[in-house]
């Protein structure tokens, strides 16, 4: 379970997150929507410990992320993260991209980590691209590679940071399908997204962020059907 209490985040004088309270249960799929600059992506970075926080607490399975004593590298293996810019490692083949972390972080043997990588590449439908370097993959394929790379660490949570925003429109579908597949398999997911269709169909809950505040959270029917906040209603009216 991910527990976020009274979380404040500043970039210098800029107050990006203004007291976020949020719990995500095992098996839940949460979508976070909102305008750019509303702090959605920053929240993911704070959960993962890639950004420091100024106030409040983030706990993952009871372990406080921003405690000095916490072994962040170990904690991060529980949380896979997929970025907007897919960030595949250009000097490694698809298989090596996926196999590297299980080997050097989890200490698995070379053959074992390659087996894991093969299985995960198949999982995301890239079994025919094993020896290909990222430069020869399309954006959608690279993003699926990034998902496979995160899954190879056998994470309990997956964090998606606008995973489809940088893709050409015709490539969005294949990545969303992969994310849907994970949701169906019961993965706990937090998805920062601009894909309203995905948020409505796949999520258990949807949260709307507005200027660093979580304006509203609830089941998709509530958010998309009869939003309580005027901000939410206005935002949804604009994106439709």
């Amino acid at each position: 379970m991910i527990e976020i209490k009274e979380l404040h985040k500043y970039f210098g004088a800029l107050h990006v997150l203004k007291g976020i309270d949020l719990n995500v249960k095992k098996g839940e799929v949460l979508s976070i929507i909102g305008a750019s600059g509303s702090g959605k992506s920053t929240l993911l970075y704070c959960i993962n410990g890639l950004e420091a926080i100024q106030k409040g607490e983030v706990k993952v399975d009871g372990v406080s992320v921003h405690d000095k004593g916490t072994d962040l590298n170990k904690l991060r293996t529980k949380m896979g993260m997929v970025f907007q810019q897919w960030n595949s490692f250009p000097h490694l083949s698809a298989l090596e991209n996926v196999a590297l972390a299980p080997r050097i972080v989890k200490g698995k043997s070379k053959s074992e980590s390659r087996e894991i990588a093969r299985a995960q590449l198949e999982h995301v439908g890239l079994n025919d691209k094993i020896d290909v370097y990222p430069s020869a993959l399309s954006g959608g394929q690279q993003q699926r590679l990034a998902i496979a790379r995160a899954l190879a660490m056998e994470p309990e949570y997956m964090l998606f940071d606008e995973a489809t925003s940088a893709l050409d429109p015709e490539l969005v579908g294949e990545v969303l399908d992969t994310m849907r597949l994970l949701a169906e398999e019961g993965m706990t997911m937090i998805c920062v997204t601009h894909e309203m269709g995905f948020a409505r169909d796949v999520s258990d809950r949807v949260a709307y962020f507005h200027e660093g505040v979580m304006e509203e959270i609830g089941p998709p029917e509530q958010i998309f059907g009869k939003p309580e906040s005027a901000h939410t209603a206005k935002f949804l009216a604009n994106v439709r």
Binding site: L50, N73, R76, M79, Q85, F89, H91, A101, Y133
Partner: protein
């Protein structure tokens, strides 16, 4: 214009083994100065990108001196300049120190450019997989920087070979120094330097060729 000079190539051919042996000394000192230069250059680059203020100032001074004064000037510093402190290096170490100093300064700038060319997001992606900072550097960042600086590094090695000929002036007998010593013994200056020019040309082409072959093996992406 009176042309009454006859070329005598035989004495040069007879001394060819000595010249070739000296060219190995040239290669050896150039490669060694590159290895030292890479080590120091990496440190200088990291210091300039975010070291303590006074250390980064020293790194900047090093880089600017190496790049903005003649290599021969730098060599003089290591011969006469250190002499002022009572430190008298042998000609070999004067040349090695001078070349390494120059290489480090130029390579530092290449490395700095290389590090800046790898996006920050690569670091984030690596850390998000649970890699430590060291793992992320050695497995993800440095290999990419290496590829970016590979060709500049090859050029610097060529430059080091060419620059090592300055050893002639401080009396170290690598290829140029040996050539000078032999040439002034026999007064066949033109012939000796012509053959040596050819040897340098072949050495440079060999380095470039090997570097290209290696790059095919090293970089498959």
């Amino acid at each position: 214009m009176n042309f009454d000079y006859t070329f005598h190539w035989r004495p040069v051919i007879r001394k060819l083994p000595e010249l070739l042996e000296a060219s190995l000394v040239t290669l050896q000192i150039s490669v060694l100065s590159m290895i030292i230069g890479i080590g120091i250059g990496l440190v200088l680059a990291l210091l300039r990108m975010g070291g303590p203020k006074y250390l980064s100032w020293i790194a900047t001074a090093w880089v600017e001196t190496a790049r903005n004064t003649p290599a021969l000037f730098q060599l003089f510093f290591f011969s006469f300049g250190l002499g002022a402190f009572g430190l008298h290096l042998t000609p070999y170490f004067i040349v090695l120190a001078g070349l390494s100093f120059n290489n480090a300064g130029y390579l530092a700038e290449n490395f700095r450019g290389g590090f800046q060319a790898v996006p920050d997001t690569q670091m984030r992606a690596a850390r998000s997989l649970g890699m430590s900072a060291t793992q992320a550097y050695t497995r993800i960042i440095i290999p990419q920087v290496f590829r970016i600086v590979y060709h500049p590094m090859t050029n610097q090695l060529v430059w080091a070979v060419l620059m090592s000929s300055l050893a002639m002036i401080v009396g170290f007998r690598e290829l140029a120094g040996e050539t000078q010593a032999q040439a002034f013994k026999t007064f066949r200056i033109f012939e000796y330097f012509a053959v040596t020019a050819l040897i340098y040309y072949v050495m440079v082409k060999m380095i470039l060729g090997i570097s290209r072959l290696l790059s095919w093996r090293l970089f498959r992406y």
